[in-house]
């Protein structure tokens, strides 16, 4: 059994609801969607028990009805496990993972600035990456966000 398949198997044995959710895209690339309420169960297991000890980054995206947040984890720098949650578009809220990975701080501030996803538990600090005088409720990576000048011309 390949390393990817044994990861899939182990997760499916541990979390029955994960059946068919884990997709091996190719060698060293695994994607899985997890319901938001079970996210920390799976995340904790991946990081603490399965040694996915490197967080490559966190990708946030506007999916229309929902926001998607993907945590790209890697084990020994080899296999990349992309764990995704979908969260409500009206009140987008997630909990911080800085307790696991300090470097998540910058990635989570990006989610707050660019998509307007509230990250609970994130230490107070400077915003990133938008300028200090950028409006607090203006999130450029949302799909309905247009350049002001484009709006003016329309």
């Amino acid at each position: 059994m390949s390393a990817e398949e044994s990861i899939k198997q182990e997760l499916e044995n541990k979390f029955p609801f994960f059946k068919d959710a884990v997709v091996i895209k190719r060698q060293r690339r695994i994607f899985a969607d997890v319901p938001q309420e079970r996210f920390f169960d799976v995340f904790n297991y991946l990081v603490r028990d399965m040694q996915f000890s490197h967080l490559c980054t966190i990708t946030g995206m506007d999916e229309g009805e929902t926001f998607g947040v993907i945590y790209h984890l890697s084990r020994d720098g080899v296999v990349v496990f992309s764990l995704r949650i979908h969260i409500s578009h009206e009140a987008p809220k997630i909990k911080t993972v800085t307790g696991y990975f300090l470097e998540a701080d910058a990635y989570e501030r990006e989610l707050e600035d660019l998509l307007g996803i509230k990250v609970e538990g994130l230490a107070s600090g400077q915003r990133y990456p938008l300028p200090d005088n950028w409006p607090k409720d203006d999130h450029p990576l949302r799909k309905d966000w247009k350049l002001k000048s484009e709006v003016d011309h329309a």
């Binding site: 995206m61 660019l114 938008l130 000048s149």
Partner: protein, 412 residues
Amino acid sequence: MHNSQDVQVPFGPQHPALKEPESFLITLRGEKITASSVKIGYNHRGIEKACEERTYIQDLYLIERICGICSHSHATAFAQAVEEIAGLEIPKRALYIRSLIGELERVHSHLLWLGVAGHEIGFDTLLMYTWRDREVVMDILALLTGNRVNYGMNTIGGVRRDITPSQAKEVLKAVDILEERTKYYIKIATQETTIIERLSGVGVLSKKDAISLGAVGPTARASGVARDVRKDDPYAAYGELDFKVITSDKCDVYGRTVVRVLELMESYKMIRQILKDMPEGPLTVRAPRKIPAGEAASRYEAPRGEDFHYVRSNGTEKPDRVKVRAPTLANVQAVSKMLEDRYLADMPIVIAAIDPCFSCTDRSIVIKNSGTRNSKTIPWEVLHVQSIEWYKEHKGIDFSALNKKYAKSFKI
């Protein structure tokens, strides 16, 4: 931690000791740094958003311009992601050419770094030497691609230019010269007392911290973490190339220097092997204009470490989402740790030692009211006052008394 002896010093975003816009707030007790915080984002250009409004091939050129040094790194990482979604099988010769340009780029980047490091410790002769030698590899890159930076070598489905036998000969000649020079730098780095004394024990990052703070590239490898995407998650031709992952257990700036100079030797070895083993064949496969719906995570070992791209497509000719995490963002977290309890004088070299690249990191400012319509010119004096007010409001540092004193000379 705060007591009356603590002094807060803001560095940047424009500061002579820093080469790019970044800002540090350093708390000092005497000469020692007791706390530090970093603020980046000054180079944010909205590239991720811009990618969603352009076609894949336009994005490739935009992404190449994320960074002037690791341009090939970003372009390759992006192309790999798109090719994976489209299910394209890239011709072997193209993969070899991608690795060739990638290693030449690493040589130019590491030589550039060595010069900057020399400059930061007052060893400007080293800067002059390395930057002179770096011209050799810049000329080769210009010969092969037509450009010194932003090579435009990649396309979705392969590479745009072939390597001719006469070009290959020139590359080998250049590699011989560079190898000889690099041996001299290895001698300097391992024998020259001034370098060893100045860099040892400076900017310490333990192996445990390197892992827990998510450090990547030479920064991680110099703390004994043997991570290299070329080895761990091979792409382009790296699966067939013979090279060592260079590590050091010194965990300081000295270790980062040794790792980089030794990596240069590995790059020369790989360049020779690529030119020897490069198979004949086509350079591209035809890529569709519309990329089927899907997603891919792509990684690339840039000169500064792991470069991570995520692309999601929706079946149209434009991507739905492009995410870029450049290596500096992963490493910048470790800088505060490295500065802890260190002398202020070490700060420039400690920061330089992660080989920071903030243009890469801040890829994504969208300029509102752009164009001539609503633009206005802000006079220098007004900017000056604004900056003083900004520091007063945001950092609690009041320069007004000082400014009053020097009002005449500042003409404000």
